[in-house]
């Protein structure tokens, strides 16, 4: 992580007192007991106590806090619900952590423009809850939707099982209000479908809290589909399941969701939640279609034909909504099920071309033997997003080290077959050092110049997403000429 600024550390009391002059003093936390809950996010293997925590209540307070920190060169880490899985809101020792929890109100439901304007710390699911009585919903559904904040979703560009058909956060977002590191308050987008000039809304989405602090979000809402049906299909091999996925897509059917679990995960899930999944299958697939009755029927029928052609060993179609939800219940319990099998598990998040599924799973199984750590795989097959769950023991340092190496090897392989390091969890601190696998130094420098354009002192969420140059250079992937780095104005840590 970035080098700790001891001068800042030594001024903790002064900074706390200054901040108490900006916002309600009870919203500035400085005792270790008060700071403890903020020491980690969803990536719990890493912890760090922040210098201070502030809990602003208005956009003007956020602006003043950032302006103060910018002028005094104090690092800032923004945080929503703290459910992120890549360490994006993990504190730094010398940072002021801005906890956005008090921005928890839905501001406006506008059915005429089919959008909701909300504060950023409203949960993803609360938006759907607010509009479902009128038959609407908010489409992106990350698995943590009960707890994760919409502001965090914007920062991470969260996806979910339905993103093949409905897109990720970026495709469902109309506008944001954002505060830049110098305290500038601005809006990108609004209720109209596009906005003028450069697409800053697109740039901010998925920028992992490095470019600004989001203080308001406007999202599109959609009319809920009339009929939703799912098929539960077993296959004798991963190859068959993979071929089935490719063929369904090639036939022009775009499912709302399409999930595959391997045998290890299916077994764990059955043992844990009595899901009733076929136990003899090497791969198990859930395909869901939504729309009008005839549309869903047509697609389900086609799926059935394609599955049979690809040697499906079992096939069940949901006859009721209850049965459909039961299909999903097992999949949703898959992660906790792994928690029973081992003291800890690490959830990876690679993206691959759909057609490479069998190849990548074979490689993962080879690596599993190499590292002697069990692994189970869940796969958002529709959009090629793979979640291998590596089981390990966090109390055993060697086991954690092996797990991290194993995970890195998987992600490198994903990139090698034409995929991406992260499909929906973000880079954060977890995959930062792997960025050189996906990008060369020119690509990374271009991104860093954008960062510097908006945050010249690199104070906003530093140490996240972009690799520490020295490490990349050691690996020989960043071109360092004559010992001089490019962009000397960019701090290196």
């Amino acid at each position: 992580m970035p080098k700790v600024d001891n001068a800042i550390m030594s001024k903790k009391d002064k900074i706390a007192s200054d901040l108490r002059g900006i916002i309600n003093s009870k919203n500035v936390l400085s005792n270790p007991d008060e700071l403890r809950p903020f020491e980690t996010d969803g990536l719990t293997a890493y912890r760090k106590m922040p210098l201070l925590v502030v809990m602003p209540e208005t956009v003007n307070e956020v602006s003043q806090i950032l302006k103060y920190c910018n002028e005094n060169k104090i690092k800032v880490v923004p945080r929503g619900a703290g459910t992120g899985l890549s360490g994006g809101s993990m504190p730094l020792e010398d940072c002021v952590l801005i906890a956005m929890g008090k921005f928890n109100k839905i501001l406006e439901i506008d059915y005429e423009n089919r959008c909701v304007v909300t504060q950023p710390c409203v949960t993803n699911l609360a938006i759907t809850h607010a509009v479902q009585d009128k038959g609407f919903y908010y489409a992106p559904d990350p698995s943590s939707q009960i707890a994760c904040s919409i502001g965090g979703n914007v920062a991470e560009n969260s996806g979910g099982v339905h993103s093949l058909k409905y897109g990720a956060t970026t495709n469902n977002l109309l506008g944001i209000e954002v505060v830049l590191m110098d305290g500038t308050i601005t809006k990108f987008g609004g209720k109209a479908m596009d906005s003028e000039g450069y697409d800053f809304l697109g740039l901010m989405t998925g920028s992992e809290g490095l470019l600004g602090v989001i203080t308001e979000v406007t999202v599109k809402i959609l009319k809920s589909p009339e009929v939703v049906k799912a098929a539960l299909v077993g296959f004798p091999s991963i190859e068959d399941a993979g071929n089935c996925v490719a063929e369904i897509i090639a036939e022009g059917c775009i499912p709302a969701g399409m999930e595959i679990m391997d045998k290890a995960l299916t077994k764990a899930t059955n043992d844990y939640s009595k899901a009733g999944y076929p136990t003899d299958a090497e791969a198990m697939m859930i395909v869901e279609f939504d729309g009008t009755e005839h549309e869903v029927e047509a697609y389900i029928q086609k799926t059935k034909e394609i599955a049979e052609k690809n040697n499906s060993s079992s096939l069940k179609i949901s006859k009721s909504n209850e049965e459909r939800l039961k299909f999903w219940a097992g999949r949703k319990a898959a992660f906790p099920a792994c928690g029973v099998l081992a003291p800890d598990y690490m959830c990876m998040d690679g993206s691959i071309p759909r057609g490479k599924l069998a190849e990548v799973l074979n490689e993962i199984s080879r690596l599993s033997k190499k590292y002697n750590l069990p692994v189970a795989n869940a796969f958002h097959a529709g959009d090629g997003n793979l979640h291998p769950l590596i089981m390990f023991d966090a109390n055993d340092k060697e086991s954690l080290r092996k797990c991290e190496e194993f995970g890195a090897d998987i992600l490198k392989y994903c990139v090698k077959v034409g995929g991406a390091l992260t499909g929906e969890h973000g880079v954060g601190i977890e995959k930062r050092e792997l960025m050189c696998e996906a990008f060369n130094d020119k690509d990374i420098q271009q991104q860093l110049t954008i960062k510097v354009a908006l945050d010249p002192n690199s104070l906003l969420n530093p140490g996240k997403v972009y690799p520490i140059l020295r490490k990349c250079a050691e690996e020989g992937r960043v071109h360092v000429h004559g010992g001089k780095t490019k962009f000397p104005d960019i701090p290196r840590f």
Binding site: N171, K191, M435, I450
Partner: protein, 419 residues
């Protein structure tokens, strides 16, 4: 010296010419590096279908990318196509047709407007302008379909972002930023674009209706229904005659709503929607697949403004504001139609001057929208702002521009003075 630099030093560039027509990325890199070193501004062109859009600006040299073309990789089952930026859109569409796939964002063809015949331009131009067609409210804009790109920044460095998979949150999403940047940030060299299956059938409900207020009401109800429309337009009386189609039983003002998908489902939804909208048989025509496709193709091509002699403005608004804005604009001599289910107005102004333009901008801004001047008279063009922007965003835009193109050599001033 890196491999790239070695290769570059081997190509010989005749810098005396005014128009460069590179066929390789190495050539583009060399041109840009030379321009960067010598501070020479470049105008970047593809097939020039949209080069009249934007501000006039001074450029010593032109970079013509029309020979930098070709499909690099097309994987129908992975739902993407990777192409060189100068590839004609037409060529891509024809290739996708073979696999019954499409670019779902159906970009506008500005050829009819400017020259009276089709010129859908190059894919690089389509992305650089980010003008999406009638499916906008359902499938997103051009930018939502760009999976990744490779480009050359203002220093001649090759950069990339994204990839070919749909789900990718690795680093900043620069594909969004370069979409709609009118060639001012980077020279696009390669684009990976999401493709989707074509719907089995398309049908269109055409409602005989000359009134905008009623049209907005129909469109609002349709777009908020579970019948899942994929297009919604309103043409006033004076454009009705432009749509002579077998199944169209009237020639006045019309509201049209498109339903796409498997045939069974389309029939069911068309029936349901006409019922939900409370339509009587005599005020309704239903266009079959072929005629429906013709209708939406004409809309996409802005054919009602074919060879337009006056000025054309593109106005994007929250749908709740459209009625009021048009009522205010009617005090000028305008002809317009409404797309995107009510959120997009294409308006032709018989006369336009700086004062009128400034008034229109105020009106649209007050209603939370923005304007792009698509076609205006040359004498006005020199003084008018083609795109609207507020001062804070201008300042941020300046910084972003510099981070890509520090010496402002790419289309300088095309979007805004100083950018």
């Amino acid at each position: 010296m890196s491999m790239e630099e070695k290769q570059n030093s081997q190509t010989s560039l005749d810098f005396n010419q005014n128009i460069f027509k590179p066929t390789s990325r190495e050539e583009i890199v060399e041109i840009v590096k030379t321009c960067y070193r010598k501070n020479i501004p470049l105008e970047i062109n593809g097939l020039k279908s949209k080069n009249k859009i934007g501000r006039n600006f001074q450029s010593e040299k032109t970079l013509d990318l029309s020979d930098y073309k070709g499909i690099i990789d097309y994987k129908p089952e992975e739902l993407y196509i990777k192409v060189k930026a100068g590839t004609p859109l037409k060529e891509i569409v024809e290739e996708l047709d073979k696999n019954n796939q499409q670019l779902a964002f159906e970009p506008n063809d500005f050829g009819y407007l400017f020259s009276g015949e089709s010129n859908s331009g190059s894919i690089g131009g389509v992305v650089s302008c980010n003008f999406a067609g009638s499916r906008r409210f359902k499938v997103g804009s051009v930018r939502d379909h760009i999976l990744g790109f490779q480009g050359i920044n203002g220093k001649g460095e090759t950069i990339k972002s994204g990839g070919t998979v749909v789900k990718n949150v690795t680093g900043y999403d620069l594909s969004k930023l370069v979409s709609g940047s009118f060639g001012t940030l980077t020279i696009l060299t390669e684009l990976s674009i999401k493709v989707l299956p074509k719907p089995e059938t398309s049908k269109t409900l055409v409602i005989k209706n000359p009134h905008l207020k009623k049209a907005i009401d129909f469109l609002g109800k349709a777009l908020s229904s579970s019948t899942d429309p994929s297009g919604g337009v309103f043409y006033p009386d004076y454009f009705g005659k432009d749509f002579v189609l077998n199944d169209l039983t009237h020639d006045g003002g019309l509201t049209a709503i498109r339903i796409e998908g498997p045939t069974n489902s389309v029939d069911q939804r068309v029936k349901r929607l006409s019922k939900e909208l409370g339509l009587l048989d005599q005020e309704l025509s239903i266009l079959d697949n072929e005629q429906s496709n013709i209708f939406w193709s004409r809309t996409k091509n802005l054919e009602v403004f074919k060879k337009l002699e006056s000025n054309l403005l593109r106005i994007v608004l929250p749908v709740s504001e459209t009625l009021q804005v048009i009522q205010k604009l009617k005090s000028y001599d305008i002809k317009y139609f409404v797309d995107w289910g009510g959120s997009l107005i294409w308006a032709a102004f018989e006369t336009l001057n700086a004062k009128i333009l400034s008034d229109i901008k105020d009106i649209v801004k007050k209603h939370q929208g923005y304007i792009t001047l698509i076609k205006i008279e040359d004498d006005l063009k020199a003084s008018a702002d083609i795109f609207t922007i507020d001062p804070i965003k201008y300042k941020i835009s300046e910084k972003i521009k510099r981070s890509f193109d520090p010496k402002r050599i790419f289309n300088p001033g095309k979007m805004y003075t100083g950018i």
